[in-house]
Symmetry: C2
Subunit: 242 residues, 2 copies
DNA sequence: GTCAAGTAGTCTTATATAAGACCTGAAAAT
DNA sequence: ATTTTCAGGTCTTATATAAGACTACTTGAC
């Protein structure tokens, strides 16, 4: 079961990877409690400290969440995580406010070359494309285009009786069992197109901050491409380097 | 010496903070080796594991660097760290190249209101202001304005016989004993001024990515304000969210 | 209802063993 | 005589185990 031979990775790493796969394949669902450190240790025939070290790494990478006296849980997407972890726009006083959003379009289309390349899809695969406008404190601030592989989010485009919520990652998790775990972002300055300008109520050509994000699951499969074009008149993108 | 009373922070935290202060006040210099875990444990009257936990946190926050079989060292600014940790511009294939730089100006001036606010200085304090142009693969790409408190970097403006190197953080560390440890960045899209346009060889009004960085020491004292305006025609700012 | 004891979980510290890096000196090769 | 190679010793960090302390919730007595 557990390899201990020469050249193998260490015990705690094997345990860590096993825990990851339990979460990854949905055996343990987001929000649910996992067995206690002592239980896992007994079951796997190792000491508590070893299990603990494995869990510690997963807590650091946000896969699990510990609560002293309660237990260890599979991390969930709640509004706080969306806000503090994945949303990087602040106002010029440094305060974060989650914008509300207005869906402008939601269509099923063949993927463009860029979309299929970023999402690792075959050329021409069906994707769902959502366009929305986001307001921060009632001012139109961002235009967002979100692309999803249609096979993973099959019934989304028909909008099966529910409205698109403000924080999509919660929806992906609860309704499609897909947990966004990390993301890669590329930022550029671009000129507002006429289309952007109209939606954001400013002049074409105004410089906008374009954020192109590829969101990944635990096993680093890309599942969402999101291009946001933001007016940075009253806001900015914030990043802390440790 | 070490507090163990009720309500106190834990042992390993006290040790961690003590180690930080040794680095912070220059008792242990960047690049030098620190006493071994066993030595420290003996000296402090705790076990190796406790010292180890303290050190682990500092390794994770990049204050210390471990090398198995060698020892633990105070982290240094080398070109790799500058490149991978503090420099976030990549070309559109995702490759990072450190730009070279051309100093355009280096003057001692009174701080503007923005500068004194961002650097926590009294209004009107003397600062050193450096303007430089940076090329990536021979193409002018960024205009940078760097502001430093004059008292900390006294002889820099006269350029005491040395050229400004490409990677300034190495200079701050080696010549002024100031180690940059973290940074806060704000990103915006702006229109190129005539001055920027001339230097970067493009048209005024072109959208540029403006990065405003405040660099901090270990104890979070701000010591550098750096405003970079980048053409994002061939490059972008890259950020990974874990 | 309130409070106290019990229980099940994580947190902290301590100790032992393993594995990696480097140095030194003797033996072997040139 | 000089250089190279190799083995052992010693110092380092890395990993694993164990035990007591702390915390949050539950249950039962009053």
């Amino acid at each position: 079961m557990l390899s201990t031979g020469k050249g193998s990775i260490s015990l705690y790493m094997q345990i860590r990877d096993m825990l990851v796969s339990k979460v990854g394949k949905g055996e343990w669902l987001p929000g649910s409690i996992i067995p206690s450190e002592v239980n896992l240790a007994q079951e796997l025939g190792v000491s508590q400290g070893t299990v603990r070290k494995a869990i510690t790494e997963l807590v650091e990478s946000n896969v699990l969440t510990r609560r002293q006296g309660r237990g260890t849980f599979v991390s969930m997407h709640n509004i706080d995580r969306a806000l503090f972890h994945f949303f990087h726009i602040s106002d010029n006083k440094g305060h974060k406010v989650l914008p509300d959003s207005n869906v402008l379009q939601c269509r099923r289309k063949p993927a463009t070359r860029i979309e299929s390349s970023k999402l690792h899809l075959e050329a021409g695969t069906s994707v769902i494309r959502i366009e929305r406008m986001r307001r921060i404190s009632d001012k139109p601030t961002m235009v967002e285009t979100i692309t999803l592989p249609a096979d993973l989010f099959a019934d989304l485009v028909e909008g099966g009786g529910y409205e698109l919520p403000n924080t999509l990652y919660e929806l992906y998790e609860q309704r499609y069992g897909i947990t966004i775990h990390s993301a890669d972002e590329q930022l550029r300055a671009i000129a507002a197109s006429k289309h952007d300008a109209k939606i954001l109520n400013l002049e074409a050509g105004t410089p906008l901050l374009e954020i192109e994000r590829v969101a990944l699951t635990l096993d680093r499969t890309p599942v969402e491409l999101r291009v946001s074009r933001c007016s940075t008149r009253n806001h900015h993108y914030h990043n802390t380097i440790f």
